[in-house]
């Protein structure tokens, strides 16, 4: 792996009327654990089932029912922790967070307040080549998801669907190390990418499988450094928490709005009230949900139905041994092994499917050329048709076959694009399709020479101009390529033009 060193980005500064202000952001990401069954029951986590089809007795909080820890969910949390280079706590414990809501059948959520399964870790968030923020992760804990209340089925009644009740969530809590809206979005993108690489969360934000609570505060320039030196939060402003964000765009807009709202209050001589807020994308504003005074008293206490969770270091080691290559390592390897640019390496490692496709194409071929073709031709075409890489009509093997024909000199780049189009629409083996359609570049120098000689004889003026200005010799090359219908090799034609004109 390359030893990459990064420079920290500048914090976002918002100019107020009186002062400049900096942003301080911390995030709590709720990531639904990819697992077949729920955190404490055997009920399925499958989405799209009939309402209340995936509900075990314990999920519905029937009297006398007890939770039993799903070992796979624990393994997923450990895997996620290892992916964030985090401390794995061999002893953790579950607590009850008590509150009343119809979609919370037990009247409490089983969570991990006091002893989370995963401790301190980090996420490197790259913002541009050589510029990255190292965001510290405070902890990851496991907890139960709630069900879903449905208020629009009946004018007087509400309904509840417990299918999601008890599905495992990881809450990934960052330190307040994020310094601007773009960084915040980039943090979510990077975290999501890592979890998807690990297979511990599918990252589907539309379904709410990954959602963010964003803590925003503002401070005067210089205050953050004092906090960094002392870890004393009193140097920072009062934070507000924006709940339940599930779009990168809205995360940025909400942070920007919220920071400006707080700045306006502070510059007016007011104080920011610590509270929970909701973002309204239609109006682009945040609104108070409940203040600290109205905040629930969750009456956390250790869940007496579950013994403390003890795991063995050897078990953690087994999980560590089965870890996949993570995005940073893969990117460094792609840059090192295939000579990719930072940008291309980012694009190609964004998700595992793209990376695997590229690697299959690039293996034993020119890496840069493979990257160009995958990014420009394939991704361009997929985007245009709204298809994902998994649905690509052109396989990595087929694209590799096209590149092989270029490398052998059988076809020109221009012809390769036509061939790609045919394969996209009709499929087939590139070499066979090219042969069947007579797609073969002209390498017969006799034919090229005859065409060129005729051209020189017919255009003496152009010959004189080219002799004065060598750049104009390209006209002859272009004319020959045109007259041969793109089948002549441009390099061969160019060399012959230079020789004939004595350049």
């Amino acid at each position: 792996m390359l030893d990459l060193t990064y420079e920290a980005p500048k914090p976002k500064v918002i100019a107020g009327v009186k002062h400049d202000w900096e942003l301080v952001i911390g995030m709590e990401i709720h990531a639904q654990v990819s697992s077949n069954s729920k955190l404490f029951s055997g009920a399925s986590t499958q989405v799209g089932a009939e309402p209340n089809a995936n509900v075990a007795f314990v999920d519905a909080a029937m009297p006398g029912m007890l939770p039993v820890i799903n070992e796979y969910c624990i393994a997923q949390a450990v895997r996620s922790g290892l992916g964030l280079k985090a401390q794995i706590n061999l002893r953790s414990a579950f607590d009850r967070k008590n509150y009343f809501y119809p979609d919370l059948p037990q009247g409490y959520q089983i969570s991990q307040l006091y002893h989370p399964i995963v401790g301190e870790g980090e996420v490197l968030v790259e913002l541009s080549p050589g510029v990255a923020r190292l965001v510290r992760v405070e902890r990851i804990h496991l907890e139960q998801d709630a069900g879903k209340s449905i208020h629009d089925m009946d004018p007087t009644m509400s309904f509840v669907d417990f299918n999601r009740t008890g599905v495992a969530l990881m809450e990934i809590v960052s330190r307040p190390d994020i310094r601007g809206p773009e960084e915040a979005a980039a943090y979510v993108v990077k975290l999501r990418q890592i979890l998807r690489y690990l297979g511990t969360c599918d990252g589907n934000m539309q379904n709410g499988n990954l959602r963010a609570d964003v803590n925003v505060s503002v401070c005067r320039v210089g205050q953050y450094e004092k906090y960094q030196a002392s870890q004393d939060f009193s140097h920072l402003g009062t934070r507000c928490e924006i709940k339940n964000m599930n779009s990168m765009k809205f995360i940025q807009m909400a942070i920007d709005y919220e920071a400006r709202r707080q700045i306006a209050i502070l510059e007016d001589g007011g104080t920011v009230t610590q509270e929970t807020r909701l973002y309204d994308p239609d109006k682009n504003e945040t609104r108070s949900m409940r203040s600290k005074e109205e905040a629930h008293d969750y009456r956390y206490f250790p869940c007496p139905d579950l013994l403390p969770l003890e795991i063995e270091q050897a078990w953690v080691d087994d999980i560590a041994a089965s870890m996949p290559e993570l995005p940073d390592a893969k990117k460094a390897r792609f840059m090192g092994d295939f000579g990719l640019t930072d940008y291309d390496a980012n694009v190609l490692t964004a998700d595992l499917e793209s990376a695997a496709f590229f690697e299959a194409v690039a293996q034993g071929r020119d890496g840069k050329q493979a990257a160009n073709w995958v990014i420009n031709e394939l991704f361009g075409r997929l985007n245009k048709e709204g298809k994902s890489i998994a649905d690509s009509p052109v396989s990595a093997g087929q694209l590799g076959g096209v590149l092989d024909l270029i490398a052998k000199g059988t076809i020109t780049g221009k012809m390769a694009k036509d061939l790609f189009e045919i394969i996209w629409n009709e499929g087939g083996d590139p070499a066979e399709v090219a042969a069947a359609r007579g797609m073969q570049q002209v390498t017969d120098t006799g034919a090229i020479e005859a065409a060129l000689d005729a051209l020189i004889a017919a255009n003496p003026d152009q010959v004189e101009k080219a002799k004065v200005n060598a750049k104009l010799a390209g006209w002859f090359t272009g004319q020959v390529l045109k007259s041969t219908g793109g089948k002549a090799n441009p390099a061969v034609v160019g060399a012959m033009v230079a020789q004939k004109l004595g350049l």
């Binding site: 007795f57 519905a60 909080a61 029937m62 009297p63 006398g64 029912m65 007890l66 939770p67 039993v68 820890i69 009850r96 008590n98 009343f100 119809p102 059948p105 037990q106 009247g107 409490y108 509400s158 509840v160 008293d297 009456r299 956390y300 206490f301 007496p304 139905d305 579950l306 013994l307």
Partner: protein, 496 residues
Amino acid sequence: MSMTGSANTWTIAAARDALRKGEISAVDLTMACLTAMDAGDGLNAFVHKTPELALDQARAADLRIAGGDAPDLCGIPLGIKDVFCTKGVASQAASNILKGFVPQYESTVTAKLFDAGAVMLGKLNMDEFAMGSATESSCYGPAVNPWKVDDVLRTPGGSSGGSAAAVAADLCLGATGTDTGGSIRQPAAFTGTTGIKPTYGRVSRWGIIAYASSLDQAGPMGKSVRDLAIMLGAMAGHDAKDSTSADLAVPDFEAALTGDIRGKKIGIPREYRIDGIPAEIDALWARGREMLRDAGAEIVDISLPHAKYALPAYYVIAPAEASSNLARYDGVRYGHRAALAAGDGITEMYEKTRAEGFGPETQRRIMVGTYVLSAGFYDAYYNRARKVRALIKRDFEQAFAAGIDAILAPITPTSAFGLGEMDKASPVEVYLNDVFTVTANLAGLPGVAVPMGLDSKGLPMGLQLLGRPWDEAGLLNHAYVLERAAGFVAKPEKWW
């Protein structure tokens, strides 16, 4: 045990032997109990009767016995405390909030009993959600102690008061109970019956309606120590569905009843000599010491210095857990839901449902529990109580590490009191009933109640023995020695 008298008066051991010898059929044995059960309505012990199920189970048991495959409990008629969820049979923990609740699942304990061939006569009265020591907080009204003197109706104790009354009145051969702070041992003492609270984790809690999860433990109640050994053998064992259940082998408890405790050390905790303890209880305790000494055990004074904090610690931890455990009774999914007025929302639904569904004692404990867990009071109450609990546990560990095999102590400060007698008492005075019993729950230790005799009023009195964790076998053997020495054979005069 004598084989005279109607079959419902037999011990489990006697009935087992008679069934195996073909001297009686399970159906006839069950019929005798059903008749006694119906005649015992005045005791208000059974709150849901299941005679048809009982006869079906008895017939199946007779086939099993005929086939030579007869576990100890095969064909034995039992009563089941209403706190156990029984599939297809109303299970309400004596609370209005679970009115009409019929579980679609069978608790692990009852499933194990039925697998062993036991017959269920019906569900037994109890304090609402097992909160109480008189069965007076039941939505069905109080159970009545068959021991009646001076023409005063008395409590059978609680919370397993229905179980104790049913066993003492011979309405069944044995019963299940649960013990969170003494709810098996205290009713046993008040009714002249036996009962054991096993080590926490010995018996699965799955399917038992929770009161305080870290303290609740189910156990048998019966007419003899041997019957406890037989029933516990069937009830105990690891259950993957209960994470707090211990993965330990279940010994043959009955085989452990050798009657030999020579050389064993019996601890007498000096902190249990509380002020105001009636002389009769003190004298009973002394007699128990003598009996064990006469059997060859060594009597040792011990100290459990933190025992005096057990009662307040218990009345913080148990309500705290209860306030959370009972949050699920919200009217959304099952049980009682209040009729709502136009414009009422979810908050009104919660408030009205819970106000109507929970009785006063349950509401009190929910409020106390909510208070002690609230921000700002958590450390002063709940956390401090947990620390006290750890110290109490350590006191016992040190006693056992010093070679003590079992601890002998009173169960209750008095014999059974009259129904309604505690109505004017403050909750704290009522809670004082539990002063001798809650320590075993806080420490997770097994405790067994043994009837010792009658007091001057003619009411039963018992003593408890507390044992090492997981040593129910040794503990039952000590209890067996005490039982034989005490020779308690009195039965309440039938008045109901």
